[in-house]
């Protein structure tokens, strides 16, 4: 009997230590997503809901890259849309039109991302703050014009379609793409977690806080600014690849300032340094109208009104929780604990009297 209890204790302790591991929450989240996808196959939840969750995950990947830039590096950029668009055209052109194998496309995309990120990184060494944002915005607009006019690569304003995607010679169905997105999403989350908990993440934060202190501690501005931009660009390009696999269509008008601003809003609203916060923020900006609001009759009649709700939520959250949604959640948790304690105390006084 007692031996049994002892072994239960041990198992519980071990489970608790596993649950405390930083990966655990995200892996559990990933498993829930997989289960949801399986439920969608079974017809328990609507397929359209799953579709909006998948596209939200793709946006969350892009937002995570942006958070490394803004939340950790302290560098503002409005060029995200251009980079994501580039990713979609990379896969659309090389894998779709030219029929290259996926590995080659991935390699080309990563190289492209590194080169582009390095260029922007070099610019960021000279120009900072708002001006950097404007320059990256300009770069993004240049890319958009290129998407419009460079028709051999992008099929111009008509948009580029992408069908019959094959991975290692095997055709990939829509369902499989969803699983790929979930898998890549979780991988990216874990990678980001590793980076921000390592010397690199701390170096980026140090650079954000004070250039001079960072330099005096041996953190070269050039190396880490380039790194931040290259990482953000790689995330954006990977987001673009997944977007093309999922949506199978890319058109230059998508990759406008709106998109970059939405990503910026998602990161700021979510809480620029917390992965959980960013996922929540992305869901609020992109996923909310696609999943929840669409079910309400009023919004079905006036679909554009969903943007009003998003706008209001952004205003409210930035007004009352400048640290982002993650602060709101912390505040709620704190409030729950506090209220619980208060209620318990009240009950004790009621039951046992004032003293003791």
């Amino acid at each position: 009997m007692t031996t049994l209890r002892l072994s239960f204790d041990r198992i519980r302790k071990q489970l608790a230590s596993i649950a405390r591991h930083p990966y655990f929450g995200f892996l559990a989240f990933g498993s829930i997503l997989v289960v949801l996808r399986l439920l969608a196959i079974g017809g328990v939840i609507p397929n359209s809901l799953m579709k909006s969750l998948v596209i939200t995950m793709i946006y969350a990947i892009i937002a995570l890259g942006f958070s490394l830039l803004l939340g950790y590096g302290g560098l503002a950029s409005l060029g995200t849309a251009g980079f994501v668009g580039l990713g979609t055209y990379f896969i659309g052109h090389f894998s779709g039109t030219l029929g290259y194998p996926f590995a080659a496309t991935l390699l080309i995309s990563l190289l492209g991302a590194i080169v582009l990120g390095a260029i922007v990184g070099f610019i960021s060494l000279r120009i900072e703050g708002m001006y950097l944002a404007i320059i990256t915005l300009g770069l993004s607009e240049i890319l958009r014009e290129v998407f419009k006019s460079f028709t051999a690569f992008t099929n111009g304003v008509n948009g580029l379609g992408f069908r019959d995607f094959a991975l290692f010679g095997l055709p990939v169905s829509d369902t499989a793409v969803d699983f790929i997105v979930i898998f890549v999403f979780i991988l990216i989350i874990l990678g980001t977690l590793n980076i921000i908990k390592s010397p690199t993440g701390r170096a980026l934060l140090a650079m954000k806080n004070s250039d001079s202190a960072a330099q005096s501690m041996g953190i070269g501005l050039m190396k880490y600014r380039l790194l931040a931009f290259i990482l953000a660009t790689i995330y954006a390009v990977i987001g673009g690849l997944l977007y093309m696999m999922d949506q199978q269509f890319s058109i230059p008008t998508t990759w406008s300032l709106d998109f970059s601003l939405n990503i910026l809003a998602a990161v700021v609203v979510g809480g620029a340094q917390s992965i959980t916060g960013i996922i929540l923020g992305t869901f609020m900006i992109f996923g909310l109208n696609m999943t929840v609001l669409k079910e309400i009759a009023f919004f079905r009649e006036y679909p554009d009104a969903t943007w009003i709700v998003s706008g209001l939520l952004i205003i409210l959250i930035t007004m009352f929780y400048p640290g982002g949604l993650i602060r709101l959640i912390q505040a709620i948790r704190f409030w729950l604990v506090k209220t619980g304690k208060k209620l318990k105390r009240k009950w004790r006084i009621h039951r046992y009297g004032e003293d003791d």
Partner: protein, 477 residues
């Protein structure tokens, strides 16, 4: 040509020496952590075996009426728990009685509650007896049964003890073996590295060109020569020269705007000096010109600085702030960090151990996991000081360490600065306005005014110097 090849070779040897030293210091620092982990595991497993042995004996002990001390304690605890539970119940009863009396002054209430209290009392007595019985021999057992049970218990307890002891000795032997093996292998590696280091050092010293010594005497660590710094029309530092010797505490004083911080910024390469050069003895064979190094490479030469206004990473805990300062000591590359390889984890453990030891030296341990926001200014200053100790400093440059501190904190700081110099074998170069502190800790002082040198000497000499007195007090001599 031959000279060039020679210097190139020397450069390779230096690089190799540094790498070997890094490896050795990593091994030396990691060994205690490893041993501690093995011992912790042993302690955990020992505790587990003990717990199991105790659990195996508990059942029979109750049966055989053998009051082991552990059992007696358990019984006491169980009884106390019941007492406590009933104490609360009585309190609750008293409270509801009070409320009932407030509602109506009926004498029947009193009697009801007296009745309920009696009931509760009797229930408590029952529970206590029941609980005590759980720990005592059932009375109907015959003497012979009891004797047999006792004998069986004795046998079982011996068996369990023997088994537990065997397990424990096994565990201990295993841990000892493991510790011995690790220690031996690490020590042999360290010794091997030591031999290599000695060999490389020997060659380095033997091949050392006379250049280094001709540039700078052996005992000088930093030599500033004819340094000038001009901002537009303002000559902030004017043809200044001084030497900082190894192992001393060197103070730079001067009235406000004398150019003290400018000199620091020139040495740490935040400013490009207009003229003059700064020579620094990096090691026994190498004297480098600091003018040739970018600002983020200065720390790699062993020069660490603090800032006049505290510059911490406000989002990170104090411990992580210290780890940021150890940035140059990490050897894991980006991909190692991306995948959190075991190498990175080991390095992090070593760094954390080092950070804790530094925090301990400075008395900052209680703040290790705190965020710097809202901590008192004296603590923040100390954290800046702690940060300088993380990256193997040889020269620590302190920019007004006592600014904003009260008298008591300044006294502590003086002790601390001396302690750092002695414990970490570092040379300290400081700028300070607090004359008490400067005169107390410094071995040599350089006084400047408007970028020009006024005097250089021991504290006593500086105090007696006429030029210094007039610069500070405006005295007419």
């Amino acid at each position: 040509m031959a000279k060039m090849i020679d210097s190139l070779l020397q450069g390779f040897r230096l690089h190799r020496l540094n790498r070997l030293r890094d490896q050795r210091s990593f091994l030396e620092n990691y060994l205690p952590i490893l041993v501690k982990a093995i011992r912790d595991r042993e302690a955990r497993r020992t505790a587990l075996w003990n717990e199991r042995a105790e659990a195996a004996l508990r059942g029979p002990a109750i049966l055989a009426d053998i009051a082991t001390p552990a059992l007696a304690a358990e019984k006491q605890a169980a009884l106390a728990k019941i007492e406590e539970r009933y104490r609360w119940r009585f309190k609750a009863l008293a409270q509801s009685k009070k409320r009932a009396l407030e509602r109506s002054a009926d004498p029947a209430v009193e009697t009801t509650f007296a009745h309920r209290a009696e009931e509760l009392e009797s229930r408590k007595r029952q529970t206590l007896t029941k609980c005590a019985l759980r720990f005592e021999t059932p009375l109907e057992r015959s003497q012979s049964d009891l004797a047999a049970a006792k004998e069986a218990y004795r046998l079982k307890s011996e068996a369990v003890q023997a088994k537990a002891e065997k397990r424990l000795t096994l565990e201990k032997a295993k841990a000892d073996r493991s510790v011995a093996a690790k220690t031996a292998s690490y020590e042999s590696k360290i010794a091997l590295l030591g031999n290599k280091i000695e060999a490389v050092r020997g060659v380095l010293i033997a091949r050392r060109s006379a250049d280094a010594d001709s540039m700078m005497p052996e005992d000088v660590l930093l030599s500033v020569r004819n340094l000038s710094m001009r901002f537009g029309g303002l000559l902030a530092v004017d043809n200044l020269s001084f030497d900082v010797r190894k192992g001393e505490i060197f103070g730079l004083i001067g009235p406000n705007g004398a150019g003290k911080t400018t000199i620091f910024n020139c040495i740490t390469r935040f400013y490009r000096a207009t003229a003059g050069e700064m020579l620094y003895r990096k090691n026994a064979v190498e004297v480098i010109r600091l003018n040739d190094y970018p600002v983020h490479d200065i720390i790699r030469q062993g020069i660490v600085r603090t800032f006049q206004n505290v510059e911490l990473v406000w989002e990170l805990s104090i411990l992580d702030n210290l780890l940021v300062a150890a940035h140059t000591v990490y050897r894991t590359g980006f991909f190692g960090q991306l995948f959190h390889t075991p190498k990175l984890r080991r390095e992090e453990e070593v760094m954390r151990a080092k950070a804790f030891s530094v925090l301990n030296t400075l008395g900052l341990l209680p703040y290790a996991f705190a965020i710097p926001y809202g901590l008192p200014y004296g603590i923040l200053k100390k954290i800046e000081l702690a940060r300088t100790l993380m990256a193997h400093p040889r020269l620590i440059i302190l920019d007004e360490p006592a600014a904003g501190l009260n008298d008591k904190e300044t006294e502590e700081l003086a002790v601390l600065i001396k302690k750092i110099r002695d414990d970490y074998h570092a040379t300290i170069f400081l700028v300070e306005h607090d004359m008490g502190l400067v005169m107390d800790v410094c071995d040599t002082i350089c006084a400047i005014s408007f970028g020009k040198k006024l005097a250089l000497g021991t504290p006593a000499e500086i105090q007696a110097d006429k030029l210094v007195r007039s610069a500070y007090l405006g005295e007419e001599s």
